[in-house]
């Protein structure tokens, strides 16, 4: 039994993606990422000298500031800041610029479901725009479960409210490699199958969680391809202009 989604998408279909970089002129790197109607603006300032008090001075430090569209900053924003900070710390090469702080500011422009994955993708694009050294990108997707056990990707706000459980999953991006396939496996799985970050809401069975992870992994391929195309295009444009 197929799920009918209101906007006519199939369960595994993502909303239209749009990404533009270098939109803010004062910041060192910026990006705007939208998935359907959810739009997030990310700006990166850094690296700046010095780390905060309790941070390790032998490594680069990141701070994230999350600004909601309306309302005061509360625990929800603090949690998002911490998740984003730890995700960024795990994808960036921290030893290149030790004893520095890089600030990532996230401004929510519109929230129509799947906000945290959108923000993570925007932050990644902004970090690339700023030239912060990274090991790989973090590709984020939201997967939710309907009560009949079907998994649906990239829900909008109405769908999120109706679902029994949802999972925000972040994977490394898929690699285009000249090496033969078997050589880059870790524990028998390709590197892009590992989960960087996972946050779940609602109760689901363990098998349902694995189903979400499977669907998420499949979606990262299309998201990674979008990232790659977007970055290569702007590279071509800037090399033509320069």
């Amino acid at each position: 039994m197929e799920i009918d989604r209101e906007d006519g998408r199939t369960p595994n279909q993502l909303r239209p993606l749009a990404c533009s970089r270098n939109i803010l002129h004062r910041s060192h790197g910026s990006a705007s990422w939208s998935q359907g109607d959810t739009k997030v603006l990310a700006a990166v300032y850094g690296p700046k000298a010095g780390t905060k008090k309790n941070e390790n001075p032998e490594k680069a430090c990141f701070e994230v500031i999350w600004k909601p569209k309306t309302g005061q900053i509360g625990k929800v924003e603090k949690e998002y800041e911490m998740i984003l900070k730890r995700t960024i710390q795990s994808i960036c090469v921290l030893t290149v610029n030790p004893n520095t702080t890089t600030s990532v500011i996230i401004q929510v422009v519109h929230d129509d479901g799947s906000l945290l994955p959108c923000a993570i993708n925007a932050a990644c694009a902004a970090l690339v725009d700023a030239g912060i050294p990274m090991k790989h990108l973090a590709v984020a997707i939201c997967c939710c479960l309907a009560d009949n056990g079907y998994a649906v990707l990239d829900p909008n706000k109405l769908e999120e409210k109706k679902m029994t459980a949802l999972a925000y999953l972040v994977f490394p991006n898929t690699t285009l490699s000249v090496l033969p396939e078997g050589s880059s496996l870790v524990e028998g799985e390709p590197v892009e199958h590992g989960i960087i970050t996972s946050v779940t809401h609602g109760v689901m069975s363990v098998d349902d969680y694995f189903l979400c992870v499977e669907n998420g992994r499949a979606a990262t391929a299309s998201l990674s391809a979008f990232f790659r195309k977007n970055f290569q295009q702007s590279q071509r444009d800037s090399s033509k202009a320069g």
Partner: protein, 302 residues
């Protein structure tokens, strides 16, 4: 020649404590290769867990949970409030997690811990989404009065696995909670009935008791959590603060009593979680849930 050689010379001369401070990762990896940790625990074993109920006499329910050295004190106060119009026969629970300066040297009065609001929100989400408490049980008069439970959890000693200990103390406090006796008086307001025996019969006849005696909440689908560290091929259950600061990949799995997953929380970290690690963490969480269920079962009468 480089650092490795000189450290090998040093290790034969260096004291254990100095080696632990200067090369913490190497110190731990030496232990991990023997499938042990510095406190002689095997990799999949959690620390000793103690739960004590009913310590705070002024609160309607309270509990102290200790996992190793991590100590959490949870207390619940019930207050009457008007329910919202969208859910007129449901009460409400507000969860707050505090990290006072007593718990850790990095928390100072002017510098609140970054982890506190995050753990607070995660606890709130876990307790409400697990369905442990039926909010309809907190209703007094539909549409007019319902109970609001303020759950405050104080961290007295932060030594790793804060979320696990906080969730355990919250669950124990709810199992200890006794909803006070109230009555609806003439003005239509809810008043508390005191336990004093001097209350004369006249006033009891005037006030219609809404609930006759102190009652406890029925808890179903109790959530139990386990935090693990992923480091290379090793999975360490129930880390201490020292282990958390050296190996930064933490995975928290929350399972409820019917083996459903309430939460799988991994927030960044150097190591990626592959299917095999996820399965192992879930297995460890299952074993831990059984242990915790026994410990709580010894406390509860029902």
């Amino acid at each position: 020649m480089g650092l490795p050689d000189s450290s090998q010379d040093l290790t034969s001369e260096m004291e254990v404590d100095a080696f632990r401070r200067i090369f913490p990762l190497r110190f731990f990896e030496r232990h991990l290769s023997e499938s042990l940790r510095p406190d002689a625990r095997p990799l999949d074993k959690a620390r000793d867990t103690i739960v004590n109920l009913g310590l705070v006499s002024t609160a309607d329910g309270s509990a102290l949970a200790k996992i190793g050295s991590t100590t959490m004190l949870a207390a619940i106060r019930m207050e009457v409030m008007t329910p919202s119009t969208e859910s007129p026969d449901e009460g409400c629970i507000a969860v707050e997690f505090h990290m006072p300066p007593i718990c850790s040297p990095i928390v100072r009065p002017g510098r609140p811990a970054e982890a506190a609001p995050v753990i607070s929100k995660r606890l709130s989400d876990t307790i409400l989404s697990s369905g442990m408490i039926d909010l309809k049980e907190l209703c007094l008069v539909s549409g007019k009065a319902a109970w609001m439970g303020y759950l405050d959890i104080y961290c007295l000693d932060a030594d790793g696995a804060l979320f696990d200990a906080a969730l355990l103390s919250a669950v124990a406090a709810f199992s200890n909670l006794q909803i006070p006796v109230v009555a609806l008086n003439d003005n239509g307001r809810i008043v508390a009935i005191s336990d004093e025996k001097e209350q004369d019969n006249a006033s009891i006849i005037e006030e219609e008791a809404v609930n006759k005696e102190k009652r406890k909440l029925t808890l179903k689908n109790i959530p139990f959590s386990l935090t693990c560290i992923l480091h290379k091929n090793y999975i360490l259950a129930d880390p201490t603060t020292e282990e958390e600061s050296i190996m930064d990949t933490l995975v928290t799995v929350v399972l409820d009593s019917s083996d459903q997953m309430v939460s799988f929380y991994k927030s960044g970290g150097e190591a990626l979680a592959y299917s095999s690690s996820i399965k192992s963490c879930v297995e460890l969480a299952r074993k831990r849930a059984k242990e915790l269920k026994e410990i709580l079962g010894e406390m509860d009468v029902d």
